[in-house]
Amino acid sequence: MVSTLRKLGRWGIGGFERLGRGHIFLFHTLMGVPSVLARFGLLVQQMLSVGVLSLLIIAVSGLFVGMVLGLQGYNTLVDFGAEQSLGVVVALSLVRELGPVVASLLFAGRAGSALTAEIGLMKSTEQLSGMEMMAVDPIKRVIAPRFLAGFISLPILATIFTAVGVIGGYFVGVGLLGVDDGAFWSQMQAKVDFSEDIMNGVIKSIVFGFVVTWIAVFEGYDCVPTSEGVSRATTRTVVHSALAILSLDFVLTALMFGNI
């Protein structure tokens, strides 16, 4: 009993300690952001590896998600003779929810885990320590550019996911199932509100971008510098990011659309 309590206490203290370390780390990272802006090349390089290389999986997934939405939406709406509203269903589902959430989950799996592994390996091979001894701050040189690149990339990727998804829904709905072309677009245009729907979706993706990239770079920087430590940190990035995205999505949805 006592040992269980002790374990629980140790686990709790360890968790809070990590949370504290994570916040101090975030503070230092944010302090390093101005120096990244001064060296734009570093940011561009990271946006290529974090953002551009995630583009394919995001676009392909977006297309399939949109196509499934078109199919499922049509099957439900056709029973009520409301299949002309398919454009609205597809667009609202993607813009409000699936775009930011699924794109962020994919981003955590593709770019987040890669960031953690890369930084973790740099730590375990003493590259970060080596930089410190060369009087180069690894937070400014390695972490801040990656953090900023992830933070900027995810909202763009989520927007692309949504756009491609709408096209996927159009292919299935209009191209295969015969929904009226004009009705698909005009209803979508009439019912999707820019500030209410699109901007709220973008705000979600900005929040997820911040949190996922923070988790990814922190897990890499804080990992145990062994191969086992790096692999554990990579797994933790995906698990923690997924939990953070889904729980924050509920909170944000409640605040934006829940009238709470």
Binding site: L121, M122, T125, E126, Q127, S129, G130, E132, M133, M134, A135, V136, D137, R141
Partner: protein, 278 residues
């Protein structure tokens, strides 16, 4: 033991250094002087905190008690900006080389120069080629770190360590895992660079033979204390059983061959008694 000369001659002065990790005491009141222009070796068995000592000198760790002065500056009390200024004058060669794996040999050596100076590209190129020439790898400048052998990686790291013309280089286990040829090259380079560039070198190692050939001064650490200090010759002629065992690599002595615990005879008798009871 060597008596140290006046303080101007001393680049790194360590006094009453205490450092622990958790409950484990690593240093328990160490005094140590590293003289300018000399090659000083810190030796001792694995796990005595030799690498930790380098990290303390470089300010990557802070001691619980004691003073570490490098060129008159109290390292544990330095602000981060001052510490970084000091580190620009210290080169460090990590055991693994710690080369940046995503850039070429040339870019690795150019890295500290590009980070800390605004030199034109042509001048950086010349400087990098000079440093690579010094370690014999000028023609390997376009290779990636993954294409280098262990010995070559360490030589590139050495070229990088001298890129900013430091006053001191810290070597962390420079001879570990090297074939005899690479070992010979690195041994020679350390001495040559030290004398040609007027550096001060600190070598942390447990390779007695190689270190003794180039060191001017050797400190032997064990159990958190300095147990021996002197020139290689003085340590070879030492009276201390412990230092003798370490320097000559004897399997048994003050550091026992057997892991401490119950006596052998007791253990065997316990087995017999147990079988009787069964």
């Amino acid at each position: 033991m060597n008596s140290n000369s006046d303080s101007n001659d001393v680049l790194v002065q360590i006094r009453d250094l205490h450092f622990s990790r958790g409950n484990r005491k690593i240093f328990d009141g160490i005094d140590l002087d590293i003289r300018r222009g000399k090659v000083t070796a810190i030796m001792g068995p694995s796990g005595t905190g030799k690498t930790t000592l380098l990290k303390l000198i470089g300010g990557q760790l802070k001691p619980q008690k004691g003073s570490i002065q490098v060129d008159g500056l109290e390292v544990p009390k330095l602000k981060l900006s001052k510490l970084y200024e000091l580190r620009k004058r210290i080169g460090m060669l990590f055991q693994s080389g710690a080369l940046l794996t995503d850039i070429s040999v040339f870019d690795n050596v150019a890295f500290p120069i590009r980070e800390h100076t605004n030199m034109p590209t042509a001048m950086i190129r010349d400087m990098v080629l000079m440093k690579l020439e010094a370690v014999g790898l000028r023609n390997a400048r376009d290779l990636m770190p993954s294409e280098l052998s262990g010995g070559m990686a360490r030589r590139v790291a050495l070229a990088r360590a001298i890129a900013l013309d430091p006053m001191m280089i810290l070597y962390d286990e420079p001879f570990t895992g090297q074939d005899p040829i690479s070992m010979g090259v690195i041994v020679q380079l350390i001495r040559l660079l030290n004398d040609a560039l007027g550096l001060t070198s600190v070598i942390v190692s447990h390779d007695v033979k190689e270190t003794a050939t180039i060191a001017d001064d050797i400190y032997v650490l064990s159990g958190g204390k300095v147990v021996g200090h002197g020139t290689p010759q003085e340590l070879a002629d030492t009276d201390s059983d412990w230092v003798k065992q370490f320097m000559q690599g004897l399997p048994d002595g003050p550091v026992p061959f057997h892991y401490p615990g119950t006596q052998y005879a007791e253990d065997l008798l316990a087995g017999i008694e147990q079988s009787r009871a069964d």
